[in-house]
């Protein structure tokens, strides 16, 4: 099979990015230049998600956070419109 080339870190990063964009209005960055400030935004947005679910607000995609992101759920965002 075409083995997915993405490393586990890459996969987890995609899970986090996808989840935060969908449910926590993480802006979609497209340009390289924007990426610097993006890291801070991701950390703050990730902390908001961890706060909502009562997880430790590490700002890092630890196992308990990734496990929460993998759970089947409603498609309506957890904050915002």
């Amino acid at each position: 099979f075409p083995v997915s080339s993405a490393s586990p870190e890459e996969k987890n990063r995609n899970i986090v990015q996808n989840y935060l964009e969908k449910f926590y209005q993480l802006p979609r960055y497209t340009y390289k230049s924007e990426r610097k400030s993006k890291t801070n935004v991701i950390v703050e947005t990730l902390k908001r998600m961890q706060r909502f679910f009562g997880l430790n607000e590490t700002g890092k995609p630890n196992e308990e956070t990734l496990e929460m992101m993998r759970k089947p759920r409603c498609g309506v965002p957890d904050s915002g419109g």
């Binding site: 308990e64 089947p72 759920r73 409603c74 498609g75 965002p77 419109g81």
Partner: protein
């Protein structure tokens, strides 16, 4: 609870809904019944009424769709996102879309249509997500049996904040979610499981891992959808790598996340007389299983699979100092940890005495 930003609401309380299409997983009759049950969750606690209509202009249009279905919120195939809904308003407002690529059921198997529909209707009425893990408006899926489901107090508060109280002379109330560090916290049952410890309370379970500081708090139905709420006793059979959970005269055998076939069974299988209608607590240690019922206990021999003669005996005589009814008990390093109300007693099984007393929720890192 949270209201949808902008506090949208319907300016009328008599709403109509239309089921636009169906999933092949269930019969039309089943779908219509589950949808009706899901609306009833909200009409029971508010002035809202919901009537099904076949005409095009229903307030709440319900449909099954896959991937990109023209509302700028594409579905993602099996699992992941199960459904979404739109806040009150004209046109697409209030509408509910289910992901047609999910397997929709009316059983504990994933995914039961009832809890998802009831949740989405909350959005159709103006509620956003709740961070209370026991609330219906919590974002993550959890099985709920429509025949026993009672709306959580958080959800009742939310819908009544928008539409006011129900016309019911007796205002309905709902269950609330236990908090780990409530000093009055008591447990229904406790058992070890493959090195972890599970603390059962109402429809919830705290899962404590020996090395991690983290304690997971979830609905029991997340792990074992077919188990009832309100487990009363539980113990681990180490040799068979099973845990047994008890409620009333029934018991279930669980292997990890799997519920064993052929359960529930009747506790008379253990040799209890018909006078025993429920077990308070249970623990297994060195081939013997101890069952605590009121102020007495029974001992069952795991080898011969029979209740030992000469029982029941007085708890206090065999476990000096344990003189209250036992809510829950588990065993750790030859200590029996007895939980009665908000306190626990550590009983050294070999020294035959209590060595420590403390608050029950100390075990939840409080």
């Amino acid at each position: 609870f949270m209201r949808t930003p902008g506090n949208p609401k319907w300016e009328k309380t008599q709403l109509t809904y239309r089921i636009v299409n169906y999933t092949p997983n269930l019969t039309r009759t089943d779908i219509e019944a589950l949808i009706e049950e899901a609306f009833k969750v909200w009409s029971d606690v508010s002035p809202l009424t919901f009537n099904r209509t076949l005409d095009k202009e229903a307030d709440i249009q319900i449909s099954f769709a896959r991937k990109d279905h023209g509302d700028n919120s594409p579905f993602d195939g099996p699992d992941g996102i199960l459904a979404h809904a739109f806040q009150p308003g004209p046109g697409i407002g209030g509408d509910v879309h289910f992901d047609a690529e999910e397997t929709w059921t009316k059983t504990p198997e994933n995914y039961n249509l009832f809890p998802v529909a009831a949740h989405e209707f909350g959005h159709s009425l103006g509620l956003a997500h709740s961070s209370d893990p026991g609330a219906l408006m919590y974002p993550n899926y959890a099985f709920s049996d429509p025949s026993t489901y009672t709306l959580h107090q958080d959800d009742i508060n939310g819908i009544q904040a928008i539409y006011g109280p129900s016309s019911n002379p007796v205002q309905p109330t709902g269950p609330t979610t236990p908090t780990a560090c409530d000093p009055r916290l008591t447990f229904d049952a406790i058992t070890t499981l493959r090195g972890e410890t599970l603390f059962f309370k109402d429809k919830y379970v705290w899962r404590k891992h020996p090395r991690l500081r983290m304690i997971e708090f979830n609905l029991i139905s997340l792990y074992w959808p077919s188990l009832p709420n309100g487990i009363q006793a539980a113990y681990e059979d180490f040799d068979r790598d099973l845990i047994f959970v008890f409620k009333g005269t029934q018991y279930w055998a669980l292997s990890g996340y799997d519920t064993q076939q052929g359960y529930p069974k009747h506790i008379s299988n253990y040799g209890f007389p018909s006078s025993v209608q429920a077990i308070d607590a249970a623990v297994s240690y060195r081939g013997k299983t101890y069952f605590f019922v009121n102020y007495q206990f029974w001992r069952y021999d795991d080898q011969s699979q029979s209740m030992e003669p000469g029982y029941p005996q007085s708890i206090e005589e065999f476990f000096p100092g344990i003189n209250s009814r036992v809510d829950a008990v588990f065993q750790e390093n030859s200590f029996f940890l007895f939980f009665s109300g908000p306190r626990y007693h550590a009983f050294d099984f070999h020294a035959r005495r209590i060595t420590r007393v403390g608050k029950s929720n100390r075990w939840l890192n409080c």
